[in-house]
C-alpha cells in the first residue's frame, strides 16, 4: 500500500517535471509569437532533435538563453564528404556552418543540388545508447552472478529477482507456445527485442527525455529485422501456401490468393512497425496535450489556465500511469507477434488438411 502511494507520488513528480519543462518552452513560445500553436509545440516534443533542449529564457533586450546540451553532428554528402562538428555551431538554427544550415530540426546544405546524409548523434541516439548501456550492464552483471552460481544453486538475489520473471515470461509465454521445439534458437533474439523495446519505452517516459520508441525510424529498424528473421525462418510449405494456395479454384488462387498472401508477408512486419510507433507516440501526445491544455486555457485568461491546471495534471498523471503499463504491453506485443509470425513461417505440413 505504502509502496503504491510512493509510486503514485513519484509519477506525479515526474509529471510535474514534464510540466515544468513544457512550461518553460511554452511560456517562451507564447512570448515570442503572442500566439499559441499547440500542434507545433507537441510535435517539437515528440520529434528527434540535434540537441537536448530544456528551456529558453528570453531577456528583455531580446537576447535568448538556451539551456541545451549540444550533440555531435555527423554529415556525409557525396559532394563534400564527411563533416563532423557540434550542433552548437548552428546556434539553435540561427547560423550556418560549413555550408550547412539547420531548419526545423533538419539539416540542409546551403548550396542547391547538394545531397546530405545526416548521421548525427541526435537526442534519440544518445538516449537510446544510454538506455542500452544500462541494459547491457545490468544483464551482464546478472549473467555474471549466475556464472558464480548465485541463483543456480542458491536463491536469486537483487536484480536477478527483477529480471528473472521477465526472462522466464518471454521464454515460457512468448517463445515456447509459438515456436515449440525451435524456441531455443530464437530465444536470444526475442529477449533482445523485448528488452530493447522495453528499456527504450521506459527511458522515453522520463520527463525531458527523448521519445525513442515513438520514432518511426526506431520501429522501422526493429520491424525490418523482424521481417528478415521471419523470411529466413520460412520453409517450403510457407512459400507453397503463398504461391499455390491449396483448396481453391485456379482463378481465385492466381488472381486473389497470390497477391493477398504475398502482401501478407509485408503487412505483418509493417503492422509491427506502425503499432509500436503509433502507441508510443500517441501516449506522449496525449500527455503533452493535457499539459498544453493549461496554456490554451491560459492564453484565454490566466485564471482559466490556473483553474484548469489541477484537472489537467490529474489527467496527465493518469495517462502517465497507463503509459508505464503500455511500455510493458507494447514490448510484449511486438515480441509476441514476432514469435507468432516466425512460428507461422516454419509451421509444418498440417495446414494442408485444414484448408
Amino acid at each position: 500500500m505504502c509502496i503504491k502511494w510512493l509510486k503514485l507520488v513519484q509519477s506525479a513528480i515526474f509529471s510535474l517535471f514534464l510540466f515544468g519543462f513544457s512550461t518553460g518552452v511554452m511560456a517562451n513560445e507564447e512570448g515570442a509569437n503572442q500566439k499559441l500553436d499547440p500542434a507545433k509545440i507537441i510535435m517539437e516534443h515528440i520529434q528527434d532533435s540535434h540537441e537536448f533542449h530544456f528551456f529558453t529564457i528570453k531577456h528583455a533586450d531580446g537576447s535568448e538563453f538556451h539551456a541545451t546540451i549540444p550533440l555531435p553532428v555527423i554529415l556525409y554528402s557525396p559532394q563534400k564528404g564527411f563533416s563532423f562538428f557540434s550542433s552548437s555551431a548552428f546556434h539553435h538554427g540561427h547560423a550556418e556552418h560549413n555550408g550547412y544550415v539547420l531548419e526545423e530540426g533538419k539539416i540542409h546544405a546551403v548550396e542547391p543540388g547538394v545531397t546530405v546524409y545526416d548521421l548525427s548523434i541526435t537526442k534519440n541516439v544518445v538516449q537510446m545508447m544510454l538506455a542500452l548501456m544500462i541494459l547491457v550492464t545490468l544483464m551482464i552483471s546478472i549473467a555474471n552472478s549466475y556464472k558464480k552460481g548465485m541463483g543456480v544453486t542458491t536463491a536469486p538475489t537483487g536484480w536477478q529477482n527483477a529480471m528473472e520473471p521477465v526472462i522466464t515470461f518471454v521464454r515460457d509465454e512468448v517463445a515456447k507456445p509459438n515456436l515449440a521445439g525451435k524456441y531455443h534458437k530464437y530465444l536470444p533474439y526475442l529477449l533482445t527485442v523485448f528488452f530493447f523495446i522495453l528499456v527504450n519505452n521506459i527511458f522515453g517516459l522520463l520527463p525531458g527525455s527523448a521519445n525513442v520508441t515513438g520514432n518511426i525510424a526506431f520501429t522501422v529498424v526493429l520491424g525490418v529485422i523482424s521481417f528478415f528473421v521471419i523470411i529466413f525462418s520460412t520453409n517450403r510449405h510457407f512459400w507453397g501456401h503463398i504461391f499455390w494456395y491449396p483448396g481453391v479454384p485456379m482463378v481465385v488462387r492466381l488472381l486473389i490468393m497470390l497477391p493477398v498472401e504475398l502482401l501478407g508477408v509485408f503487412t505483418k512486419p509493417f503492422a509491427l512497425i506502425v503499432r509500436l510507433f503509433a502507441n508510443m507516440v500517441a501516449g506522449h501526445i496525449i500527455i503533452l496535450s493535457f499539459i498544453t491544455l493549461i496554456f490554451i486555457f491560459g492564453s484565454m485568461s490566466s485564471i482559466a489556465g490556473w483553474g484548469f491546471s489541477p484537472l489537467s495534471v490529474a489527467f496527465a498523471v493518469f495517462i502517465y500511469l497507463i503509459e508505464i503499463l503500455v511500455a510493458f504491453i507494447q514490448a510484449f506485443i511486438f515480441t509476441n507477434l514476432t514469435a507468432v509470425f516466425i512460428g507461422q513461417a516454419f509451421e509444418g505440413g498440417h495446414d494442408d488438411t485444414h484448408h
Partner: protein
Amino acid sequence: MDLLLPSIGLLFWTLLAFGLVYFILRKFAWKIIIQSLIEREQGIAESLESAKKLKAEMALMKSENESLMAQAREERSQMLKEAKETKDKVISEAKEQAKLEASKIIADANAAIQTEKLAAITDVKNQIGKMVIEISEKVLRKQLDNKPEQEKYIQQMAGELQHFGN
C-alpha cells in the same frame, strides 16, 4: 508528415545499436542466464524427485523395520520357549541321571555291604571253627580227666555254639 518519415541517421544508429546489443547480450548474457535458469529448474525438479523417492524409500524402510522387529520378537519368544524347554529337559535329564546314579550307588553299597557281610560271616565262621577246634581241644583234654562232666560240657558248648551260630 515529418513524423512518418524515418531519418537515415536514426535508422543507421538504431540498426547498429540493435546489432551490437544483440551480439553482446547473446554472447555474455542470454546464454548464461538461460542455461543457469534451465540448470536451476532441473536442479529443483531433481531435488523434488529425489525427495519423493527418499520418502518412498523411508516408508519402505519403516515397513521393513517393522516386519524385522516383528520377526525378531517372534524369534526371541521362540528362543525363550526353546531355552525353557532345554532347561526343563536338562533338569529332568539331570534328575534322571541323578536317580540312576543314586540307585547305582545304593546298589553298589548294598553289594559292598553284602560282600562285607559275607566276609564278616566267613570270618566269624572261621573264628567259630577255630573256637570249636580250640574248645574241642579243651574238651578233648578234659575228656581225658572226667568223662561225664566232659559230656555235659560238650553239651553245653554245643548248645552255646548253636545259639551263637544263629
